[in-house]
Symmetry: C2
Subunit: 253 residues, 2 copies
DNA sequence: GCGGTGCATTAACATATGTTGCGTGCCCAC
DNA sequence: GTGGGCACGCAACATATGTTAATGCACCGC
């Protein structure tokens, strides 16, 4: 399991040193497992743990008074859950596994020490957190201002792209382990309408279903109708000036 | 201007020391101003600055291909914009002022040093960032799974609560400087429908308009129909166990 | 083989929301 | 004052989406 996807994603940043990597390894020592449908984190739970998804899929969600639920975002390998748990004690959202899932757990307060001893690593983890926030922005835009077809296409492409960035190859990342009901919860629409929308996209041959999963058949077409911005998750490759600034800030050490 | 609202909000955390406060003051030394309607941050702009709202209102938004825009969240005094700018160079959303606004600006890379020298302060700022993320979660839930009336009521109450927590008194915080068009952009609905919804709430006497602003007349009723969770922004008062953990993590200093 | 159970599909109908277009009142610059 | 711009109000109609309810189909345990 040493080839975890967080490592892969962080490598793109290209400024971590040997000691950062080894501290990261120690941080991620303790692993836990979950099976499909398992609730990993309960809502409204006192929570002082940070988790890192190592393999498999899940999602963060909130339940509504009327029994429905809203999926806030999906979790893929390399994602961090509970980054702020040190300062925000209660978790307001639950986490559920979609597939078999392996994740690392450590006390959130460890991050306080990390920030003191290895600011570079902390910065790198902050980068991951920042990406999540950007994904939330995108989710808001998707739900708030697009119709069902575009919403669904956009969501599917985003998941595909995130998986590829997490290091999964084309074939692994074009079969998404989500049911239409899950998609409906994520996109804020009824299951029936999700099905209508799904069939409409499937009729054009852009997606298809296989078992309880969805296969992307034509990612270009999907990106096109959703006017998906392929750059939007790309800012990982920190450009030289910024990297310089980091070194400057660190150098008076 | 020494009584800035970030200071007020951070005071609730109750673990910052004298040196943290003075570093914060130095960080927020440089102020800038904006007038209503002014674009403070352009979309898709290289951005290596972090900003802290000191007074006034604004919002983060994204433009859509068809000319509409989605408001991601509102900014009130004490909010931080561009917390991750060190690692995520490009800003994907713009920031616009709603009222006269004063804000502090500093290079995002300063935060790297803060995290090394004053992890407590960094933690405190992370708490602010964590609250913003929670607000995004709420925005997703609001847009994704509630009808127009509830969405609007919920949003209005949230703004009211956030203002009060930022230190504004009841009267200042029950008049919100937003037009119905702004609300529509925030709630992901058409301006006409926002107006319908507004009038429906106004007909019950729960809100009213005054000039270009909205006055909340009955916050209890609004909270009730929106089943607004008054705790959800409350986790600021870090409970003893967590605070203990922070001290533990810091003590081997 | 049988009967579940979970997911997908479909139809008919109800409702929420979007669109277009026009009218009103207010404030402000000239 | 007056003309223009802006926020708001409103009606009629078009459309997207929700609801309910029933059906089919695969998989699985027994």
């Amino acid at each position: 399991m040493d080839r975890n996807h967080l490592r892969y994603r962080l490598a793109a940043l290209d400024f971590l040193e040997e000691e950062d990597w080894s501290l990261l390894d120690r941080l991620l020592e303790r692993h836990q497992f979950a099976t499909p449908g398992e609730i990993v984190v309960l809502e409204k739970q006192e929570l002082k743990l940070t988790r890192v998804i190592l393999s498999g899929w899940g999602f963060r969600f909130r339940s509504l008074p009327d029994g429905r639920r809203q999926i806030l975002n999906f979790l893929v390998p390399g994602d961090v859950v509970g980054y702020y748990a040190t300062v925000i004690a209660r978790s307001d959202c639950g986490v559920e596994a979609l597939t078999d899932m392996e994740y690392a757990v450590f006390p959130a307060s460890d991050l306080v020490e990390v920030s003191r001893t290895n600011p570079r690593l902390m910065l790198a983890l902050g980068w991951i957190a920042g990406q999540s926030e950007r994904i939330l922005d995108e989710q808001i835009t998707r739900i708030g201002s697009r119709n069902a077809r575009i919403r669904m296409a956009h969501m599917l492409v985003e998941l595909y792209v995130r998986l590829r960035k997490a290091g999964l190859d084309r074939d692994q990342s074009s079969a998404l382990p989500v049911t239409q009901a899950i998609l409906a919860d994520a996109l804020g629409m009824s299951a029936v309408h999700a099905n209508r929308t799904f069939r409409s996209l499937a009729a054009q041959g852009w997606i298809s279903r296989e078992h309880g999963a969805i296969r992307l058949e034509d990612i270009r077409k999907l990106s096109a109708i959703a006017s998906f911005d392929h750059d939007y998750l790309d800012h990982g490759e920190v450009p030289p000036p910024t990297l310089g600034a980091i070194e400057d800030a660190l150098s008076p050490d």
